[in-house]
Amino acid sequence: MMMLSVSGLSVAYGAIQAIHDVSFHVEKGEIVTLIGANGAGKSTILKTVSGLLRPKAGTIQFEDKQVHSLDPHRIVRMGLAQVPEGRRIFQRMTVLENLEMGAFARGGRADLSSGYESVFHSFPRLKERRGQLAGTLSGGEQQMLAMGRALMGRPRLLMLDEPSMGLSPILVEEIFRIIRQMNADGITILLVEQNAQMALSVADRAYVLETGRVVKEGGAASFMGDEAVRKAYLGL
């Protein structure tokens, strides 16, 4: 079943067009990754899917609904969440308050305690720090909080923007282990990464972006085996 389908997407910042006629899709249960260098337009695509940017042309369909003209809060409430680049946690709120904000999309009657429990199960460190201001957490903990916060909304599709950025190799391993776990728990994942090798190791399929265009797509495994791709995009 199709979870997300983007077709013919073009996005511009004023006069500068950042995304040119991009099409891709994500099937239910998949991990799909968009890889490419800095400035290829990966984050712009995620922002547009989340409704933070309006596309100039093209359509975005989530499950069976067109979402490209909806406001961001309505898109989140449909079950399409994003962990933005740079984590963007609420630094002046506590860990628990951040998690509570994550459940905001589910409305005022949402049962928070079971959400906290499952987040703390995945990220035990957050439980220890639940009363602390989020701004005092380390980078890795902040990334975990950002992911936990998104999980509080019980999304069916989760988009992650550069979750490994600025983290130590051990933490990167940990984050990717959790991404796999989330997927095993039934959440479809759209992953944007500069760390292409890591992204390809967890993904089912991949799209390679270059200056706002999709230049290559296919199964993740085939990318790893493709000498030309390895040279051009993975720096191997």
């Binding site: 409704g51 406001d71 409430r77 963007r88 609420f90 509570e100 904000m101 005022g108 909304g153």
Partner: protein
């Protein structure tokens, strides 16, 4: 000693009014990074609304006050929707100029409706004077401080604990991230303007009972001072607005009592200059590093 205490209490009286008004500036700034220069005129509209309801409609004081507060809240929301929302992604200077335009619009509309002549505000609260030892505190002062402090405490509770309060904090910290949580920023911004304007209306009624002359430009001075109180405490920080308001009021009252009435405004603005020189982000202000 007694005079000093009396002056301080008088200062807290006017200061609590400044604090209430300052909260509107600081909350709006915190959410949309806009200095709403029309906020002072909401005080004036609130005073005229209360005056009309008290005299022409002959309502009891509490009913007139409540309706005036609701009217101002609606006005705040409407002004934001009509005048500021279309400019949300425009350069900040455009919105800033718009707030000044709205300020003139409100002043001139009231001038047209009620004439520019000042009117007396009929005081309808009769509170007995409090006597503690040989210190007399006017009942009005007592009620004003009490109402202001209670409202500020309630607001602080709302922002700390309530779901919408937390959403407001989230929006003020990171608008986009809050949207990604499913927060409807239009609702949040409207609510902020409504609360700010409602507090200004309360301030207007309390102010008018102390200075019972209502005129179309009456909002300018308390508005300006409340704005300064907000900057003094640290714009965007709610406890800062409260603290700033009380400092302004007490400084003003002490200057009036011990130096000269004419100099009181100069002293108050002087304090602002000194604080901005020493700590530009305000007394409770955070160090702000501009995000690239």
């Amino acid at each position: 000693m007694n005079t000093l205490l009396t002056q301080i209490i008088n200062g807290l009286h006017v200061g609590s009014v400044y604090a209430l008004i300052a909260l509107g500036y600081t909350m709006v700034y915190g959410i949309v990074k806009l200095i709403n220069f029309a906020h002072g005129d909401v005080i004036m509209v609130g005073a005229y609304a209360a005056l009309t309801l008290l005299t022409s409609a002959a309502l009891p004081f509490w009913a007139a006050a409540l309706l005036a507060i609701l009217f101002c809240a609606a006005l705040g929301v409407t002004v934001e929707r009509v005048a500021y929302k279309p400019l949300r992604s425009a350069p900040r200077i455009s919105s800033l100029i718009t707030t000044i335009g709205v300020s003139f619009f409100l002043q001139n509309s009231v001038q047209m409706l009620f004439s520019p002549t000042p009117r007396p505000f009929p005081i309808r609260i009769n509170v007995p004077t409090l006597v503690v030892g040989n210190l007399k505190v006017s009942g009005l002062t007592f009620v004003t401080i009490l109402v202001a402090v209670a409202l500020m405490a309630a607001l602080e509770m709302f922002v700390r604990r309530a779901r919408m309060g937390k959403a407001m904090r989230a929006v003020s910290e990171d608008l986009q991230a809050a949207q990604l949580m499913g927060v409807n920023i239009n609702t949040t911004i409207s609510m902020t303007f409504a609360i700010g304007a409602a507090l200004a209306a309360v301030g207007a009624i309390l102010y008018s009972t102390a200075y019972p002359s209502v005129s179309p430009t009456m909002g300018a001075m308390p508005g300006l001072k409340a704005f300064i109180a907000a900057v003094l405490g640290g714009i965007g920080i709610m406890p800062g607005a409260m603290l700033g308001g009380f400092i302004m009021g007490v400084a003003e009252s002490l200057t009036k009592g011990y130096i000269s009435t004419q100099l009181s405004d100069a002293v108050v603005f002087g304090i602002l200059i000194v604080v901005l020189l020493v700590k530009p982000s305000g007394i409770l202000g955070r160090h702000v590093s501009e995000k690239v």
